[in-house]
């Protein structure tokens, strides 16, 4: 009761982003007056990548007086002009530089899972923001698969609460994992999602509305969602959470410089001390290599580009790539199975309305031995727009006249998907390809192969959603196999032999080099990863800021207090 009265009223502490945003314009406020640092000025922290992890880390530490530069490869968005209510027109939001994919089950990248630009992949993520379950942090101990994290759910709990208030997350009270409530009320349920929900109930499967990082009501100067369904194309409304609206406004107000169009190509190591001394990057506008000095470096470029950057950072001490002496960089990259089933219904449904994420279930999240495989999956409604729907119809084997027929029937369909937990495997890995990008830096190659547990999980879950769609009264069904979400590649662990960074995201090899993005996660559960990535960065910032982690490598001079506060 009390929690319900407080819906929409519990404000986050220490983050003014929602008030800094402009009601009438979508540009990131403060870009014109943004603090600029000289490249030869040794800043306290240089962050590579202005995405989920990097933005939260920068915002938090800037509030503690750190002088921070974020190098971001992609553009500094001006959403009023750059973003459109259009699928094909949103191509520039994605990481479309070349990457090579291999293995028995190659994973398609680009628009499916990687963004490029200030705000990172969350600019065009769907918006589901579930927490990981406590079990996700100890799958090896509990279920004999995957890996145990060097931290537990309890270490992240307070940060989950804080980030949920910052996004803010809307949803029903959550009964699964560690039961919790959300700061905002659940959104209205669209006709399309209610069909799936009805089918699930008929199968005895409980579903709940949310959790989504989408404003329901108003939140500072951020308006209510207008139910336009273009969440994957960048929310022009500012209703959907991304670092661009949730953390970067506050970061800029506290002196962070976001240097866009700056592709990091090498973390530089001082061969004498073994510490990182800065980052070399390509200034895209001028086509020039530049070098930013820094006291601490945080790599936050996500699961493909973070390993690539480390592997490309060759030095005398690290001839096989930075932090790669034990051959761990790029290993244990994971995706989630994301099989999608669409059903056809007698009446018009028009699934393109409302946010694409609506209703979900974690009933099947935990291991149930009777199913014959370890770990589980979640169920989430989704709603492809026309091009997405055409790709679905194609994957189901139709083209030409049959394709046109199914497409004309678009308004009669509703779609549900799963997220399978797929297990961490050492050979599912990012390496360097033979090919180079336009700056001569080798591009990433990502090999991926499913294991038997993965296949069993995917087959079981496909049956479950097929059952839901049939029970909801579908007259025709189209099911396709696909994958979503990246995680891992620089995982945290307890020793350099099985991981790249420690529980404090500190690389084993270089004391002042940290990784703070999705690549540090040793497992992914069946939850979408963005909230967890932000919570992890929030925890790291707290530990760095309160000196629980020592980035000095033991040298006293480097322990000197961070440069004075530069709040404005």
């Amino acid at each position: 009761m009390r929690t319900n009265l407080l819906k929409g009223a519990r404000a986050p502490k220490d983050n003014e982003s929602r008030f800094l945003l402009d009601v009438a314009r979508r540009d990131l406020p403060g870009e014109d007056t943004m603090r600029r640092y000289r490249t030869d000025d040794e800043v306290d922290l240089v962050v590579v990548g202005a995405g989920a992890g990097g933005s939260v880390l920068a915002q938090r530490l800037a509030r503690r007086g750190w002088r921070v530069v974020i190098l971001e490869a992609g553009p500094f968005w001006h959403p009023d002009d750059d973003w459109v209510s259009d699928e094909a027109g949103s191509h520039d939001l994605y990481w479309t530089q070349k990457r090579v994919i291999g293995g028995d089950d190659p994973i398609e990248l680009g628009k499916n899972n990687s963004g490029r630009g200030v705000g990172g992949s969350m600019i065009h993520y769907a918006g589901y923001t579930p927490r990981f379950h406590p079990s996700d942090f100890e799958t090896l101990r509990r279920d004999g698969v995957g890996a145990d994290w060097p931290i537990t759910y309890a270490d992240l709990r307070d940060h989950y609460v804080q980030v949920e208030r910052e996004l803010p997350v809307a949803g029903q009270n959550w009964p699964w994992g560690d039961p919790h409530s959300y700061p905002f009320s659940p959104h209205a349920v669209s006709g399309a999602a209610s069909i799936t929900w009805k089918g699930a109930l008929a199968c005895g499967i409980e579903m709940r509305v949310g959790p989504v990082g989408i404003v329901n009501g108003t939140f500072g100067n951020r308006p209510h969602c207008i139910y336009r369904g273009y969440c994957l194309q960048g929310c022009k409304v500012n209703a959907k959470a991304s670092p661009y609206v949730t953390h970067l406004p506050d970061a800029l107000a506290h002196g962070v410089e976001v240097r866009a169009g700056s592709m990091a190509v090498r973390v530089e190591i001082d061969d004498a001390t073994g510490l990182a001394r800065g980052v070399t990057y390509i200034d895209e506008e001028h086509g020039k290599e530049r070098y930013q000095r820094a006291r601490v470096v945080a790599v936050c470029a996500y699961s493909i580009e973070s390993p690539r950057l480390l592997l490309n950072s060759i030095s005398q001490r690290f001839p096989h790539g930075l932090c790669n002496t034990e051959d761990q960089v790029g290993r244990y990259v994971m995706v989630q199975g994301a099989t999608q089933t669409a059903g056809r219904y007698p009446d018009e449904v028009r699934m393109y309305k409302a946010p694409l994420p609506e209703v979900s279930s974690e009933v099947f999240y935990e291991t149930d031995e009777s199913r014959g495989f370890a770990r589980g999956f979640s169920i989430q409604t989704i709603a492809p727009l026309p091009i997405g729907w055409a790709e679905h119809v194609l994957a189901a084997g139709h083209w030409g006249r049959a394709m046109r027929e199914y497409m004309r029937d678009y308004n009669h369909w509703s779609t549900v998907g799963v997220l399978n937990e797929l297990l961490a495997q050492p050979d599912n890995r990012v390496t360097l390809a033979d090919e180079c990008d336009q700056y001569g830096t080798p591009v990433a190659r990502f090999d991926y192969t499913l294991c038997d547990n993965d296949k069993a999980n995917m087959a079981f879950s496909a049956n479950v959603i097929h059952g839901i769609v049939i029970a909801s009264g579908a007259q025709d069904v189209l099911t396709i196999r696909r994958f979503a979400h990246l995680i891992g590649g620089c995982r945290m662990g307890t020793s350099p032999e099985d991981s790249v960074v420690s529980a404090d995201h500190q690389s084993w090899a270089v004391a002042n080099l940290f990784v703070a993005d999705g690549s540090v996660c040793p497992t992914q559960g069946s939850a979408n990863p963005a909230l967890t990535i932000m919570a992890l960065a929030s925890r790291l910032a707290q530990r760095l800021g309160s000196r629980k982690v020592d980035p000095s490598g033991g040298s006293a001079s480097r322990l000197a207090p961070v440069s004075g506060s530069n709040r404005r």
Partner: protein, 245 residues
Amino acid sequence: MARDLSKPDHLPNLRPGREPPHSSWLPLQRRGTTPQMIGRYPDYDVFDAAGSWDDATAKVVNARLHMPADLHFFSAGEVATLRAFCDVCVAQDGEPRVPVVEMIDEKLAAGRLDGYQYADMPDDRDTWHVVLAGLDEVAEGRYGKATFAACDPDTQEAIVALLAKAQLSGGSWDSLNVKRAWSVCMRMILAAFYSHPWAWNEIGFGGPAYPQGYMRLGPMAVREPHEKPEATKEDPVSVISQDGT
């Protein structure tokens, strides 16, 4: 003869040979333009709401109506086969056509690719050249025609069916993974075709929705004022009176 749209009997999966019915069951388009002037929403035009689109979106969408006619990426020798191939893939057998070829050419010329390349595949740009060459080889080798474009429509469809099932080999086809080549081409063709507002008219998609947004999410009301009900080939008079016009 009007078909009951609450029934799914027009859907390929539920029909013999997974073949859709001939398009003659569809009503003639009365209002917005659709590809080949067929569709399920004869009185719908997504441009009726265009006044409410934001400028950036309107610019991107309108540009698709005015694609430059000259091609830069494909060579003159490839164009006929390219056109025939794209027509078959999305069944564009007459005017008005969505300018799929021009849209793909512009994208490839600008190097706007998808951001990944299968290890057993060439660059997407090379894939297109190989596929077009391979289609001509099949036309010649199996059907005795000089090019794919010179084959009759049924033959063209039969060849594309082989490509879709990855049942082509020899010559150009041995230089790539045929199954993936099909997906590379189709991804691009579909992204072009279904980004075009004429295709939105055909399928009744509401189109861009900013700053206005959608208000009728269902389950009770599903149509905004500018969205129109679907129809089959019935008497237009009854539809018009139903509409209150």
